[in-house]
Amino acid sequence: MGDVQLLKEWINPLYLVQETIAQISPTFYAHQELPSIQLSNFFLEEKAEHVRKVLDKLSWKKNYIPHMHSFHKPANEKTLASLYSLLNSSGFKSLLGTMLKKEFKNIIIEPLQFQHGDYTLLHDTYEQEKGIVCYLDFTKNWSEDFWGQLIFTTKAEPIIFPRIFNAAHIVQITEDAQCFVKYVNSAVGKNKVYLVKVTMH
């Protein structure tokens, strides 16, 4: 019961009703090249705004390996405790499991920030971890001109997820799919991409 209450406190009620949940997995698996779905307005608005404010206040540390990536990670994640409680709850794992017809036992949470000059690169020798990844997007006032899109390369055309505040981009990383974040250019000014990457096993 506690977990159901927690879900109700955080998640848009639209995604808690059976009718919506039943529509998610057919849509997700319909994309054969890259099973994926984008759930807009995923959290209740006040919760998404709250997380964004916390992310803005965090102290971020640069993670830079020039030929692989440049992005920022929180120096201290304690202030994100309430979001972590939700994502680690059995209710959240169960909700996503029901949506995608899978069973999730463990999750890894990685808050990421991309600012001007940041990027990730595809790498021949680096194999991306397979499985379901959910990118929770807390980026605001974004323009396509800033780049910084989340791009998945597949055997066919690349699939591009634009930055949308309070969207959950859920993808199944397969052998043929690799993901990168396009270089964030100087037009961005002081704006930043905020993503919380949730890898589910």
């Binding site: 020039p66 030929h67 595809l122 990168f180 270089y183 250019n185 037009a187």
Partner: protein, 231 residues
């Protein structure tokens, strides 16, 4: 009117009878001051000693008229927009077999035995082939090329000829070299070269040759011809 005074003409300097073995196909292209023994010795020393990787920048490389011809021809070329995780830029097709006279003539100079010999002297890399890759690039505003080493196939020497306007460091578009650790992982930028019109950059391609082109921050285009000498 007649001239009765004896006019003393200055003595004509004696012409050296020893031909410069480097001139050949390079005549009409490169500025002659780069072809003397003294210049080659200087460039050899610079190339070998430059850090973090062996490289050399030759300023005022070509005769100014040739830069003008190449730039005009390049501006008329069809460019394809290239976008990936690693870069955003515009590039021409391979210019090796271009029917544009100035490109085919430039390619003949690049692939000539004269230039190969000169490069071998400077770099110490033996057995360069006459195979040269050549393409034109144009960086629009925000164009960039992120860190990579160029290491592939038989590439021995990478080169870039800057044709576009000279840019200040604040305008971006600089070629930047990284230091590497003992496992050849790039660490930090050690050298940065903003584009300078009519300068020729060359560097040795290896597992250590990590470099990037920083984001172009101006509306001025960064126009270059570049490629690799193979071995």
């Amino acid at each position: 009117m007649s001239y009765t005074t004896k006019h003393k003409y200055p003595k004509t300097p004696k012409l050296s009878m020893k031909p410069n073995p480097r001139i050949g196909a390079l005549k009409g292209w490169m500025q002659e001051q780069h072809l003397s023994d003294i210049a080659i010795k200087k460039y050899t020393k610079e190339f070998q000693n430059n850090k973090p990787i062996q490289h050399l920048l030759i300023k005022n490389f070509l005769q100014p008229k040739q830069v003008e011809f190449l730039l005009k021809a390049l501006e008329k070329q069809e460019f394809e927009t290239k976008d990936s995780d690693l870069f955003s830029l515009q590039q021409t097709k391979d210019l090796r077999n271009s029917t544009t006279f100035v490109f085919s003539s430039f390619y003949t100079m690049l692939s000539s035995n004269y230039l190969q010999k000169m490069l071998q002297e400077i770099t110490g890399i033996p057995k360069l082939k006459n195979t040269v890759d050549l393409a034109g690039s144009s960086f629009p505003k925000h164009g960039h090329l992120l860190p990579h080493d160029d290491y592939l196939d038989n590439r021995k020497i990478a080169f870039i000829l800057y044709l576009g306007p000279t840019l200040t460091p604040k305008e971006g578009g600089a070629l930047e070299f990284f230091s590497v650790d003992e496992e050849n992982i790039p660490q930090k930028i050690i050298k940065s070269y903003p584009p300078q019109q009519n300068s020729f950059m060359m560097f040795k391609v290896s597992r250590q040759s990590f470099h990037q082109v920083s984001e172009l921050l101006t509306d001025k285009k960064r126009m270059t011809l570049g490629g690799w000498f193979h071995g």
